[in-house]
């Protein structure tokens, strides 16, 4: 049983002429770390919204096809119900922190769900610990750096103990170092907690090393789906996604007939590959 299973999933926003996602066939297994990417407007955010119930509850429209989370159809389920199965972290840290202290913010979801106080406090401690923000518990959200705010947002989502976490461009507003940090945190959580992770990202150079799968969307459909080294070929470049620069280098070398078919995705891989060819 896949964690996320979509069959012929199609959604058209109310008032729109064409579907934003069309005929999506997707199966993501438990514990996988998948990257979702594609040019602006390709439907990535729409697909994510379907996963946690924002579509069709918050965003109305016409939904067709089938979507199952942990083997159960999402039809008829509210966003609040799905919140315990699919956690959602948004792009802008400022607009997903609600309380005047980090601790209360992490507890926010649990308060909403009516989780008994004892249990809630335990989960809050745990969530803060696994995201490394226990020392920030009494700070106000606006006092935190962008990276810390996103950690707090992740903790707030984890406290509800979903099996799946969806993150929509969480590094957009972060500087490069904080971006690398937070992706490291996300990868660690995926490994340690066996948390199925779907990460929407443009900055493929940072995230590729952690993912075992990259899904590329284009114009509402899934265009490519596979391990990063397979997906980062010519087709991906033509769709217009920003490949890791070392991968792009090999594309360029290949055009001059100077490199083989492999697509390295990290500095280490690229270095190894070059050394082999150069005989050093």
């Amino acid at each position: 049983m896949a964690a996320i299973q979509a069959r012929s999933l199609t959604f058209t926003y109310a008032g729109a002429d064409t579907p934003s996602v069309e005929n999506i066939e997707l199966a993501i297994n438990k514990g996988e770390f998948a990257i979702l990417t594609g040019p602006s407007g390709c439907g990535k955010t729409t697909l994510c919204r379907c996963l946690n119930g924002l579509i069709p509850n918050f965003y109305s429209g016409n939904i067709e096809g089938d979507l199952q989370i942990d083997g159960v159809s999402v039809k008829g389920k509210s966003t609040a119900e799905l919140a315990t199965q699919v956690g959602f972290v948004f792009q802008n840290p400022e607009n997903q922190l609600f309380s005047l202290s980090v601790e209360r913010d992490v507890a926010f979801g649990l308060e909403n769900l009516g989780i008994p106080r004892e249990e809630a406090l335990k989960r809050v401690e745990w969530a803060m610990e696994v995201t490394g923000i226990t020392s920030l518990r009494n700070k106000a959200p606006y006092e935190l750096s962008g990276g810390q705010q996103q950690r707090a947002a992740i903790a707030g989502v984890l406290a509800m103990r979903p099996n799946i976490i969806v993150l929509d461009e969480p590094t957009s507003f972060l500087d490069p170092k904080s971006a690398e940090d937070i992706v490291g945190v996300i990868a660690k959580l995926n490994r340690d907690l066996h948390l199925t992770t779907l990460l929407v990202e443009h900055r493929l150079d940072i995230v590729s090393r952690y993912a075992n799968r990259v899904i590329v969307m284009d114009k509402g459909k899934i265009a490519l789906d596979g391990p990063p080294s397979k997906v980062y070929g010519d087709d991906a470049r033509l769709i217009g996604i920003g490949l890791p620069r070392v991968t792009m280098l090999f594309h360029l070398l290949r055009r001059d007939g100077l490199a083989g078919e492999r697509n390295p995705i990290t500095v280490e891989e690229a270095s190894e590959e070059l050394r082999k060819v150069l005989g050093t």
Binding site: D175, S178, G242, L249
Partner: protein, 281 residues
């Protein structure tokens, strides 16, 4: 020329945001101002058009101090494009939006019409001429905001975080557009922390940290300096990291993007190929 001399800035009763900053930007320069969040980058560029005045020191644009002119007057020469287009879009149509500043600056109506038409053409916005700016997508709104500032053709352009939220194709288009503007003789200053974008554009990089300039030089030099990069919450461009692992090939220190790396490696790979074919032969 934009000249910053020993500038110190703090809000009343607050700590120093900028301290002892000195900088010269010549006409036609391409400069990236980089640094961690809170380093003072946006504060600095807000001084170029007079929105903020230095607490100590002077800033002059084309020889005249910024305290001698109003923001409107300074904006004629220094166009400042803010990060979030939603903070400036307000008109009923895109055409109205683009006409706004021209009317503020007192251009006659037929000049306004002409400029707006030509601008929409250049930036591929014709089909949105009568649309409300609010129904456009994020990327399109950013284009409209850019057009709105270009409308009056300022000599110097400052862009605050132009790459946030943009996908690769949009960034590529932006890069080409910047090069076009540079070829027209404009000064371009971008505030950014997008290391790979800067690595591909290769401007002069001015690095701010905690309100002071800690680095000022070619992109290749600044972005490969580990100490500086670490201090400013940046990262070394991926290609530069790759080059470091290939030290025995003695790569030039200024390779920070894929194209230059390709050029360098191409020659090495060709000689390696002929070398091995010689051995076999």
């Amino acid at each position: 020329m934009i000249s910053v001399e020993n500038v110190r800035f703090h809000y009343p009763g607050g700590p120093d945001v900028l301290n002892n900053v000195s900088l010269q930007i010549k006409d036609g320069d391409f400069v990236a101002i980089m640094g961690e969040n809170g380093a003072g980058k946006t504060t600095l560029v807000k001084m170029f058009n007079g929105l903020l005045k230095p607490t100590e020191g002077t800033i002059s644009v084309d020889g005249i101090g910024t305290d001698e002119k109003s923001v409107a007057q300074l904006s004629r020469d220094v166009g400042l494009i803010f990060q979030n287009p939603d903070h400036q879009l307000f008109a009923e149509t895109v055409a109205e939006e683009l006409s706004f500043s021209l009317r503020n600056f007192g251009f006659s109506e037929d000049v306004v019409q002409r400029r707006v038409t030509s601008l929409m053409n250049t930036l591929d916005l014709d089909r949105y001429s009568a649309s409300s700016p609010f129904v456009l997508s994020g990327g399109e709104r950013k284009r409209v905001a850019l057009a709105a500032i270009l409308a009056w053709d300022p000599k110097h352009l400052v862009m605050d975080e132009p790459t946030i939220g943009q996908d690769y194709l949009q960034k590529d288009r932006l890069r080409n557009f910047i090069l076009q503007l540079l070829s027209q003789g404009k000064t371009i200053i971008i505030v950014t922390h997008d290391v790979e974008f800067v690595a591909e554009c290769k401007p002069r990089v001015v690095l701010l940290s905690h309100g002071q300039i800690v680095g000022d030089g070619p992109a290749a030099e600044i972005l490969t300096d580990s100490t500086l990069v670490e201090k400013s919450s940046l990262v070394i461009p991926q290609i530069a990291k790759l080059m470091r692992t290939l030290q025995n090939l003695a790569p030039p220190a200024d390779i920070i993007d894929a194209y230059s790396a390709r050029d360098f490696l191409a020659s090495k790979l060709r000689s390696a190929a002929t070398g091995s074919s010689e051995k076999r032969g």
